[in-house]
Symmetry: C2
Subunit: 113 residues, 2 copies
DNA sequence: ACATTATATAAGCCATTCGTTATATTATTC
DNA sequence: GAATAATATAACGAATGGCTTATATAATGT
């Protein structure tokens, strides 16, 4: 299983989306996806972990998952080839860069759980 | 089948990569992937077509496929959320923007201070 | 009309994946 | 140490995906 296959699953993208806001215990995902059972969610986490899209650290009985951005950069590098093919994209990039540059001295913060 | 699933397959990414260089007849892909049979390639093209990642126009017996960038922009919009999580990305973006700007105006600026 | 070229569709097989229930593991609390 | 809480693993069935061979469609050339 590679990164592309890993993010092809909606639930796993949902998990990543939640992790974009910060570190979270596995239980949060179980609660967030009522359509799935706990083992089901656990398996998705396992997949994201083995692929390298997330990492874990134990906190008592809990396991805190967090985003592993380097792997997502892989995906971005693939898209790189196609960027410039669509219009309207440039403005979005410029806006993003402006935000980035404006907050360059401050590190991106992570919400504690 | 959605865009994420469509690009999760290596052969289909290969097809898109070839299309990044321009319009191509179906036969080109059959030739480019010796590990697959013609119907196998045809099915991948069908999938890319139904998802909206490519389009076709007939030219005599041939069918010319070309990239449909708008659909890839969808993927990019998803990644947007995560951009800014990895380092080193900024420079690549800036380089790209510089290229873009350079092609839009006659005199590109070397480095903003 | 018939053969050829280019591509698509059909049918079937095998591998993978996703979900489930049941059970195991690990840490905490009483 | 027994009970509880949080999470992981095992085993398995159902669905999906991708590949194949065989066949169909469509346009071109003779």
């Amino acid at each position: 299983m590679d990164v592309f296959l890993a993010i092809s699953e909606p639930t796993r993208r949902g998990i990543l989306d939640m992790l974009a806001e910060g570190e979270r215990p596995a239980g949060d995902f179980v609660a967030a996806f009522p359509g799935l059972t706990q083992p089901g969610v656990s398996r998705h986490l396992r997949i994201l972990l083995t692929v390298g899209l997330v990492s874990v650290r134990p906190l008592s009985q809990k396991r805190l998952y967090s985003l592993e951005p380097k792997k997502l950069a892989e995906l971005d590098r693939w898209l790189e080839r196609y960027r410039g093919f669509w219009d309207g994209r440039l403005n979005a990039l410029e806006r993003h860069l402006d935000r980035k540059k404006a907050s360059r001295q401050s590190k991106p913060e992570r919400k504690p759980s």
